[in-house]
């Protein structure tokens, strides 16, 4: 019964945010960004794995903008338009409302971009269960999870659609330009390259410290953002 309510919330969110033509446009643009470049002709599996990883950097900007817009519309928009008050009158927990919004947006974004990564892998003759492809999918998940929690916290704190969207973009560019000035390993905070290279090729390009800093910063920050968002949402007052 509890799962039934949660599923209904998820379906409601899907119909509200992923309505026609949002899903179609996002899938179309992701396919174009991920597959339009020529693929490698090399026979080396590591180089073909790099080709698949390259797809991530091709659609990163689009992915970031998309997640910022989706979460701002889904959560900040819902609070701004006071639709959230209707949810609060239902016999469902506040955490279930937020979890349904978070999960549907996170999972659909990951499924769309993950499918493009798998298609790219098939084009370069790598099976989807190949280690390099699984590592790229893992990195894609980390990237999507981090961006989703970042957008989630800004959406809840600002409670305004445009403010949430802009803050995510400004925050991202400010942080990335500030981090590029730093020395390793702090230069690799929130970076995915050290994770990919260390997991596929060992510690030849990056040190263990770089790897730990990159992976740890993404995982810890995402968890902190997620927990803070849920705690804040649970106690949040809507005027």
């Amino acid at each position: 019964m509890r799962y039934g309510k949660f599923l209904r919330l998820v379906l409601w969110e899907f119909e509200e945010i992923w309505h026609f033509p949002t899903l179609e446009l996002i899938a179309g643009i992701a396919i174009f960004f991920g597959l339009s470049t020529s693929s490698t002709i090399t026979v080396l599996p590591s180089a073909r794995g790099l080709d698949v990883e390259f797809a991530l950097s091709r659609f990163f900007m689009f992915q970031m903008l998309l997640i910022a817009v989706l979460f701002a519309r889904s959560i900040a928009g819902c609070i701004e338009k006071r639709e959230i008050l209707i949810f609060f009158t239902y016999p469902v927990k506040r955490t279930s409302v937020l979890a349904s919004k978070f999960l549907i947006n996170l999972s659909l974004t990951f499924i769309i971009f993950g499918s493009v990564v798998i298609a790219r892998a098939l084009i370069v003759h790598l099976e989807p269960w190949n280690t390099s492809v699984l590592i790229v999918l893992f990195i894609l998940f980390l990237q999507t999870f981090f961006l989703s929690t970042l957008s989630l916290i800004f959406s809840i704190i600002t409670k305004r659609t445009w403010a949430a969207m802009l803050l995510v973009i400004i925050f991202f560019f400010t942080i990335s330009s500030a981090l590029s000035q730093l020395e390793p390993p702090f230069k690799y905070l929130f970076g995915t390259d050290p994770i990919f290279y260390c997991l596929t090729m060992g510690f030849t390009h990056y040190t263990f410290e770089d790897f730990t800093v990159a992976l740890g910063s993404i995982v810890i920050t995402s968890i902190v953002f997620l927990l803070t968002s849920f705690i804040y949402f649970k106690r949040m007052q809507v005027d």
Binding site: G34, L35, T37, V43
Partner: protein, 171 residues
């Protein structure tokens, strides 16, 4: 919007974006090559590459202008050549001192270019390859997705009509 129609439009959007991506890929040729000196009567696997099912322009020339042969082998052909010495190529260019030709790659796979110097003197060879054009497997995927996009709403519409018709008859 009704679910079958939405499914149809979703698949159609995927087909259109795949077509645009394929068009972009078809118009971005990949050029690569190799070369080296071949000893008298030497056979050598010169270039190994992953080729899509596109057009392959092969251009080769020899330094001294003596007759040389070039073969493009798939993995089975390469294994057979290594095991038994029998050459069973996809593309065969024999006894030419230079040549430019456009060939069709049948499927996406790993291919190896094997060259043979049939003379009793050392010969230098240079090979240039350009891969371009529409990929047959991607085109097939687009066609299948388009058929699904058309079929899902059509089948749903027909089955609905049939059900309504039989229900009307019963009444």
């Amino acid at each position: 919007m009704k679910p079958p129609l939405r499914i149809g439009i979703f698949f159609l959007t995927i087909a259109i974006s795949l077509f645009l991506a394929e068009f972009q890929r078809a118009n971005s040729p990949i050029t690569f090559g190799g070369g080296g000196n071949l000893k008298p009567y030497e056979w050598r696997d010169m270039i190994s590459c992953l080729l899509g099912s596109q057009n392959l322009r092969i251009s080769f020339s020899t330094v001294n202008g003596t007759l040389t042969s070039l073969y493009l082998l798939n993995p089975q052909g390469l294994q057979e050549w290594k095991d038994t010495g029998t050459i069973n190529p996809i593309i065969r260019i024999e006894n030419l001192s230079s040549n430019i030709g456009i060939y069709d790659i049948p499927s996406r796979d790993f291919y190896t270019i094997v060259v043979h110097n049939s003379n009793n003197a050392t010969e230098g060879i240079h090979i240039d390859l350009t891969l371009y054009g529409f990929e047959k497997d991607l085109t097939l995927a687009i066609e299948i997705i388009t058929i699904i996009a058309m079929a899902v709403p059509t089948i749903c519409f027909i089955s609905k009509k049939v059900t309504a018709h039989s229900h009307k008859k019963e009444v």
